[in-house]
Amino acid sequence: MTALTIDRVWKEYGDQIVLEDIRLDIAPRSFVARVGPSGCGKSTCLRMLLGQETPTRGRILLDGAPLPAEPGPDRGVVYQRYSVFPHLTVLGNVMLGPEMAANRLTGRARGPARRAIADRARALLAEMDLRLALSNTRHPLDPATGPVPAPEAAMDRIHDIPAEKPWSGIVRKGQTLIIIDSYGRQAIDTIFYNARDFGERYSNQDTMRENGVACIGGGCASSRPWGG
């Protein structure tokens, strides 16, 4: 269980204030949706949670300890696009994480370990309706493969993240998603979800709450995406 504290966080680029005095305590196993127009700071916030950027002021605490200053296996991410590896097949993409974890030198598992990872990856892909991709040889950019975010979501889900509603449906829509979760743990902790809107399925906060989505801040002003 991971509690996240965002404590008086500011982010400025030169004169421009992107995030202003964000204060937020997020309980373990929350689903936090941030909705707002382009440029309101959703992605900046996400990059800070990933450790790709540091706040100009304030701090972000994970279970009371400062967030590591670089991305790591304790925080997963599913991007809108870009982060599928084009040189690997869909299956290779899903297998990459566990394979790298299995051998820190070659990044390749061998023998039964490799077969086990492949089986799990195939099962995940089948569950995500990517049977087409099970030919093993298809690359993510091949038009026959299907929507790109799906293999990406599987890349994260292979770390024992259960396919629970409501996010399993959202992920396929191809929006940026960040998953706070300990590597290989059975239970997923906190999910941040960035979207300009939720489309028809999650058209208003009520529908989102019914689906177990905690919504923080209805919309967002240009420098104050949520909280405050």
Partner: protein, 272 residues
Amino acid sequence: MRWINRQPGPGGRLALGALPFVLLGLAYLAGSALRLAEDPNDKLLPALTSLAAAVDLMAFTPDRRTGEYLLWTDTAASLLRLGAGLGLSAVLALAVGMAAGLLPLARAALAPLVAFVSMVPPLALLPVLFILLGLGETSKIALIVIGVAPILIRDLAMTAQAIPREQIVKAETLSASTWLIGLHVVLPQVAPRLIDGLRLQLGPAFLFLIAAEAISADSGLGYRSFLVRRYLSMDIIFPYVAWITLLAVLMDLGLALIRRRLFPWAELERAR
């Protein structure tokens, strides 16, 4: 129909492509016939029969002094130098280019040096190389490496940097170390670009090779061309130039084939 909308058919494309070659060939034959009619001893534009005789002499007749078939020993010597030069450049480019593209610290340390070295005209360094490394193979290979490697390094560093940051971050969240990111994310994605870079550098590599051979060698395609220049032996020089060109074209096609075979996904990305 407007000219901008007229497309050649498959046969027409072939015919149009062949046309300039045919015209050039005809122009040569006409010029050669004219000059030879005026002076049968003219050496500038030899007739096809003299060219064929020269090819036979160089490629299929053992040399009277050494017993070697000169064209093939020359080709072997040149290709060995070219292969060593390009191979070393490729290895250097992968190591230094990836380091500079992937590691900000390495980039800070290496980028200015590589940018500086890539601006040194390699041929101006040739005397230095001959003095430092002697007149043997080392200096010729070194010239190719100095000419080709910095450009490949910069190209690969830029390619590595152009990989979307999201991919790197994704790999980090999948527990990759710097080493594993280099091995499984960056290396496979810069490798096709390295082959493209080598294809583009074939021309310069041959230039440096022939320049070095022209100055000091005892065999090689460039050496032979410049040797027989003294006797105005255009009948040998022309086939040598054609042979060098053919070799370069074949290498280019071969590298393109390797790229398609090894990195089929890169074609998908290119088509996007």
